[in-house]
Symmetry: D2
């Protein structure tokens, strides 16, 4: 089979770098175009010295017509707002497949999208397929526009949706306490990612349901629960680079169920999933680093009448670039794990 020609729009951030790392090992893909704004004109290995001797393409300014001509598939990894707009343009130019890694196209209800993002392209929202294969992959087959969920929604949804779907936990209250490495905040230096201040300390931010990813988590969990839900989502910034752990708390519908009962349900629900592993011990982000894997754990707190579900994943892989490639594989009819077979880097 001829290689699939791939363009990357937004090549200068961590999501872009991780797409490059993974796509360079993908057997069916050829990188034909790298685009970015501020970095246009620079060689990609000047931006990312880890690519020295491997990729020396010069980054181009974005030009939609050129992308559509030179590539079959475009990954768009630009800042929120701009990303969805560019993805829409490329989609309308008739590309075979466009994958948007921002949050712009993930909220299907235009009113909610407008409330949290300040914009809503209704036609585009109606076209975009939500790219979390574990929620149902049939809709990804032959999709042409995919909104790829990011790290917080992926971790939060995977922690809870199977339990809600099976009605093992009640739809309220739902609490997600998420812990993230700072690479999730991107490559732009800021005091909150400045090593002397972020290197030994932990804090929450945008707590109590004020983070923009809250409605996206609610959208997916509401579908699973069969009813609208509210999630109290509180992200925390940890002194590490990669990895995200979501610890979710919910109330069991039957308080007599034991940890083993929940584990059994999760094992059944995720049988055959190429990347989800149900683990007996609390999952550790160090065990999935650099891979597209998800480690999923659960425990019954029968004393307090709660269920604790935990997801560990790599925010830049299953939480971004790896997931996008998984979606691409599915949409193009490739093996779903193509190019994603690498084992975690441990230690």
């Amino acid at each position: 089979m001829a290689s699939i020609r791939v363009a990357l729009v937004g090549a200068s951030g961590y999501t872009g770098a991780e797409l490059l790392r993974l796509l360079l090992s993908h057997p069916d893909v050829e990188l034909t175009l790298l685009c970015a704004h501020k970095s246009a004109g620079q060689r990609i290995d000047a931006l990312f010295p880890q690519l020295t001797g491997r990729l020396s393409t010069v980054v181009e300014p974005y030009d939609g017509a050129r992308v559509a001509r030179d590539a079959d598939v475009a990954f768009v990894a630009l800042p929120h707002g701009e990303s969805g707009r560019v993805a829409g343009e490329l989609y309308r130019l008739g590309m075979r497949l466009v994958l948007d890694l921002s949050g712009d196209l993930r909220i299907s209800d235009p009113a909610i999208c407008r409330e949290w993002y300040g914009h809503a392209d209704e036609a585009l929202l109606a076209e975009a397929v939500y790219g979390l294969p574990e929620l149902g992959r049939a809709r990804l087959d032959r999709a042409r526009l995919i909104a790829v969920p990011g790290c917080y929604p992926t971790a939060s949804i995977l922690a809870l949706f199977a339990l809600l779907e099976a009605k093992l936990v009640a739809p309220a209250p739902l609490i997600v306490d998420a812990k993230s490495g700072v690479s999730g905040a991107g490559r732009t230096p800021a005091l909150s990612s400045h090593l002397p201040e972020a290197g030994e300390g932990v804090r929450a931010y945008k707590v109590a349901g004020t983070h923009r990813h809250t409605p996206e988590i609610e959208q997916a969990l509401g579908l699973a629960a069969g009813t609208a839900v509210r999630v109290s989502f509180s992200p925390h910034l940890l002194p590490m680079s990669r990895g995200i752990l979501a610890t979710a708390y919910a109330v069991p519908t039957d308080p007599s169920r034991k940890t083993e009962d929940y584990l059994r349900l999760l094992r059944e629900r995720f049988t055959g999933e190429p990347f989800v592993r149900v683990v007996e011990h609390p999952p550790d982000t160090a065990h999935v680093r650099g891979s597209n894997l998800v480690h999923l754990g659960v425990a019954a707190d029968r004393r307090a009448g709660l269920v604790v579900a935990m997801t560990a994943l790599d925010n830049l892989v299953k939480g971004a670039s790896g997931q996008a490639i998984q979606c691409m594989n599915r949409a193009l009819g490739l093996p779903e794990a193509a190019g994603l077979g690498g084992s975690p880097m441990f230690p």
Copy 2:
């Protein structure tokens, strides 16, 4: 005033080292005896090179009669089980003040103590005063045996007790998601604190109410709530040395209250407290490191109907050694902040 003669039993761990650091700057104290088991015979600055040129005392094997003779006050920082036994012995030898930093004497109900710790010296439990000054300091005045709470209970209790006491949150469900640096696990090397495995990753352990500090948290919060409570407590290990952040979730009794309402209550409740600071932004452990300070934050999640309360403290200071000194100061009639005035080390 003549110096208070202080003995330290259990000098070779991190809690011991931190007691030494703080007591060396205490204006009213003289260190007369350092005891430990395995390290007996070694110079303290061989065990802790940071003390080179500052303290060269040889560590002695523990001998209760000698401690009681050579010191007025004893800090006991031994492993659980042994610590309470030694503290009891020194107390019965008539020392002016004994402070136990273990969990052995913190549970006042012997049945619960026995269930979680496998032992209960009922007479001793009845004598021991719980050493969290913010819960009420009158009982510390002239106390002779103090059970000093550790990092998890201190952080968890301070997050929630004022809200429960004022009936701003309901007594169920109560959830504490705690994030700790690995120094809390002590100085004995283990795979869980081995830098290659712990240096970039996060995971929960003893989740869902199985951690031994759960009943201690419930005891204090039950008193505040005026009714028995259950807490779903889940500790997490973070890739850092010091610091603990407790993020607590509870249901408001009046869902219309705003963040500012909770802040106002906390500011009033903690007025005059020498070490508690109510902060408007989510607290950061990096802002209290090395000090006895507690940063306390709160936020109303009115969408989801929850209150999020957060405590940041240094697990080795306010979560152990600093708190013990604060208790000593109070019991001996010294200024409560004596020797604890140092500012946090930032960055």
Copy 3:
């Protein structure tokens, strides 16, 4: 071509884990046997949870005859002393290829080997080929016993040998100041790798030519210089998991040469090398992490009359397991980079 059957003796350490990670992606290899002592009887994914769902082989106790029967190639990654002995046994059992990752067989002069290691199997030392392909790969072709150099020698030798070989620097003094992540010290917990003590601090150890890898570095650099040399080697432990940076200092033979002159020599010398990249800026271990790459830099200090050469590599890949696989590929006539094509993980 039928898969090469590979056994791994010493599967429970970091070198073993990294061999597993890399070999699982090697197109020509089949893992047929995993051996270890203390871990025998356990599943490999219990020892290394990152392998969950990927490899569940039960670790076997070592049995030479069985290894020789069930595998064509054996990687031996046991502690020094034992490793060379086992490698010798397997070699004498007639295996097609044995690769020893310890230092036991790397010193070809039995007297020096005895002095630093306390043993010397003269016949075996005479058979063992030193596995640093950049020094000359012809001797690796069809080799049956390869002594694979570790992280410190690889980094130190690659920094200096080309400069010595071309007589751009004098053979004395030669100084190597090496900085290593703590994974180099292995998986056994110790105070020196205990996160609270190793997580924020730096120190030298075994300074001033007392480290066991000193004579190995001298052996290779002496061959390059055409005369016996002494190297002042001082390793340092850094607060990170992976990566090694060697900063080497030597005196130029012609003090008028500029940085560009040295860069030109290095570029020429390493033309065609699959893993060595000569870089213009000081190399950073973060740019090679997880890969078999070496970044090599050099600078002339004409004010002080010195040349500074720097090597960055991943101590577990090019400094151990990746290098071993590179040697295996060469010895078996496979493409030298087979299974080693992954890009660095950055960030």
Copy 4:
């Protein structure tokens, strides 16, 4: 004695924050004025939340006349170039004591100062006293203008000057391989201090005698050696916040001397020094963190004919703010260690 009124010009960086931490515990000092540019108008505890409840002074824009009126002593911690100019202005306004923490006034030879810094106020350079008490403290007594050396010069000079002074090592070659935490680069966010890129990796920068602190090190070591010297200085950035380790290499004048001989000299030379500790094991920055202490080690490499000297200190304390206070104490006739008695924070 009435308190000394102290102004801090440049309050918003890490050096300023550390001056605040230390001066708040100084028994003889009253902070009367905090000045900064961009942060003027903000409360200091908004800039530095660790000061919440401790110091709420509003930062003022700099006004020389006001500083001279409201304070007896000024610490100037501004960026290079500006700092020396402001210090000179305050000195000429007749303040009792001005301490400049930048490099502007540290080079006494105007030609060299001009070459490396692009400016030289000859009259001021002639007045400024170099503030490294261990080099000789008599000149600090009653000094009115002190140029306080920073972290790299302090660590480098303390490693070598006593050995040069005693002629135990030759004046060439002199090599300093310095390893620094990233707080030394200040509080302004940059990619080189961005946690995802700096948190797990090591690299050199401004190698081979191109760093601006090189001539300052040479100036002090030249005085010690009694002859002009050249130092090959290569700084490295480490994945940690605080701490600096200088590993220095020199050639012994008598190759038969042993480690113990060098230790004896250092112990004698530094007898009575309040902050220097000569240690037998290689010094560790983790053992001096947060304190004004210097740990100094040395080892003879008799095989290779070199001496390795090592200094560990906290770059923000003995490498900046603590040293400035030590100088102030001396200049004002206070006990030299006043306000600097805190023990290191370990772990």
